[in-house]
Amino acid sequence: MLGIGLLQGLAVTARNLIGSFHDPKRFVTTQYPEERTKLPEAYRNFPFLVAENATDPMGTLRCVACQICEKECPPQCIYIEKSKDKKPDANGKMQIYPAIFAIDTAVCMSCQICVEVCPFDAIKMDQVFEFAATDRFNGLVLDRVQLAKPNSYFHGIHPTEAAEVDGRLAAARKAAEEKARLAAAAKAAPKPPPAPKVDPPAE
């Protein structure tokens, strides 16, 4: 028991004690909630529904109630009921929209499989982690009104992913228009083709 190892240990703790006053590497705590660590862009917590623009979120939901995410969700915490009627989507095509879209955030484990399997880029991962409610059902089961957030918000939290998604959608829209124009020209029908009603793509 010569004690040399003990002295070395004491030296290490002393260096850390002194270091914590001047060396940021040895003082790692951030004083939440005053200071907040910057969340990495890929950070994901609960999902949210992407709406084209903020003014009319219910009208411009990208979701077409195909219920793929409901089937693929591991804890089965998404509940969708299709609407009876249809409404035009960004490309002008008439699509079904979700009458009820509820996510039970008490059961959701933010695994983002719904985002991965959604073919319409309609559901993306949010970054909200300060999320408390006083009631198990009214507070924690979010319906589509609470879930819908505009595309601009999506650009805010996931800039690169949002840009890539918008690029793809714009390209798809251009291809759809191209095909529509070709079909119309090919048919060369006497009456001029109905002008497709195009929503202004999100800036």
């Binding site: 028991m1 010569l2 703790t13």
Partner: protein, 402 residues
């Protein structure tokens, strides 16, 4: 406190506490003056050491935090200064749960007895030039007698809780405290042998003055004094259940040891008693080895003596906290082996060294070098030999790679 000495060369700060006390007691009739003096002593000790306990818990948590690269408590008040009072209020308001199977009288008495015994030990420690609460001529003996009664209280706590883990802790506490009582006492016997007196003021007086103008002749600067101081501090660590000897309340094995069945203010009393015990033992270490309230340099005499005592006490307490932040815990049999096979023999050898040291006092010139050589040899060689013998099987290892 003894009356103010006649010499007027003591500057005002030095005499301030005594003057204050005399001014207060001057309002009372002469016959009750002695009672007022002792009551003032008690009140001042409880106030000073009560506050020291409060801020010691805060200092411990801040230093532990800083060592672990985190700030420690800083939410209550500026830099966490109100944390002790917040803890106090929390402890007061927490429900005091007494298990049905526990023995209520003993369960209640244990913390009270523990606190009483550890406060008793403050009566004899000379805090300043004329700040000695009780100047007994066998003060050191009284100190260790009061201090060793705490074992009974801890066993009472463990036994009364009627809980298996508490019973374990009680047995461990008994074994540990008794086996470390011996090196504690054996390490202060050389001091009595060298200074020739059992009274703390006498011992402090014997350490007055400076050699060659700069080196104070505190006992710690003699070879046997340093060894005695080391043994005293290791035993003090064990006596106050501080890491690496905190086996009774070993949280990783026995949940909270003898404190398992305590909650509310009784739980806080245990910690108060532990910190008082720590302060008392460090106070005695300062008195015995670090020259009590003497200033290290003659020119520093202007700072009052009680300030020097406080400075030395705080340095020792910082050492306690530093060790707690670093070292893991010993196992029960290693702990007792360390006491009986390492510290007690060293303390006995130290007794011999002191006898040699005091007898060879009149040696002059080269003989003085021989004296220092032999003393240092007697102090340094045995621990190395004993240490190597005890840790025979242990050591760093080399590893092969497949």
């Amino acid at each position: 406190m003894n009356p103010c000495p006649s010499g007027t060369q003591q500057h005002f700060l030095e005499r301030a506490p005594v003057l204050l006390r005399d001014w207060i007691t001057s309002f009372l009739p002469g016959s009750t003056r002695w009672l007022a003096d002792s009551l003032i002593d008690i009140a001042s000790i409880l106030a000073v050491f009560g506050l020291l306990f409060a801020f010691l818990t805060l200092a411990e948590r801040k230093v532990l935090g800083r060592v672990q690269n985190r700030p420690g408590p800083n939410r209550t008040g500026w830099m966490g200064l109100l944390q002790p009072f917040a803890d106090g209020i929390k402890m007061l308001t927490k429900e005091d749960v007494v298990p049905r199977a526990a023995d209520p009288v003993l369960h209640f008495l244990a913390p009270v007895a523990l606190l009483a015994f550890s406060i008793l030990t403050f009566a004899v420690i000379p805090f300043g030039r004329n700040l000695v609460p009780l100047d007994l001529d066998a003060g050191v003996l009284y100190f260790f007698a009061a201090g060793s009664a705490t074992e009974l209280a801890i066993f009472m706590a463990g036994w009364a809780s009627h809980n298996k883990y508490a019973l374990f802790a009680a047995m461990r506490a008994l074994a540990q405290l008794i086996s470390y009582e011996l090196p504690l006492l054996l390490s202060f016997v050389p001091v009595v042998l060298a200074t020739g007196s059992l009274s703390p003021t006498g011992i402090v007086a014997a350490q007055a003055g400076w050699r060659w103008g700069a080196v104070p002749n505190w006992l710690v600067f003699t070879p046997w004094g340093a060894a005695g101081f080391a043994i005293f501090m290791i035993s003090a660590l064990a006596e106050s259940n501080r890491s690496p000897f905190d086996l009774p309340e070993a949280e990783s094995e026995l949940i909270a040891g003898h404190l398992t069945e305590y909650s509310g203010f009784k739980y806080a009393l245990f910690f108060m008693a532990e910190y008082f015990g720590m302060c008392a033992l460090s106070g005695m270490a300062v008195t015995l080895f670090l020259g009590g309230w003497h200033a290290p340099l003659p020119v520093l005499e202007i700072i009052p003596s009680y300030a020097w005592f406080a400075a030395k006490l705080l340095v020792l307490l910082a050492g306690f906290i530093w060790i707690r932040a670093t070292l893991p815990r010993l196992r029960m049999d290693q702990l007792t082996k360390l006491a009986w096979k390492f510290l007690v023999p060293l303390a006995l050898i130290n007794l011999g060294t002191t006898a040699f040291w005091t007898l060879t006092h009149p040696w002059e010139g080269p003989l003085q070098l021989l004296r220092w050589g032999v003393a240092l040899g007697l102090v340094l060689i045995p621990p190395v030999l004993l240490g190597r013998g005890l840790s025979s099987g242990l050591g760093p290892r080399r590893y092969r790679y497949a």
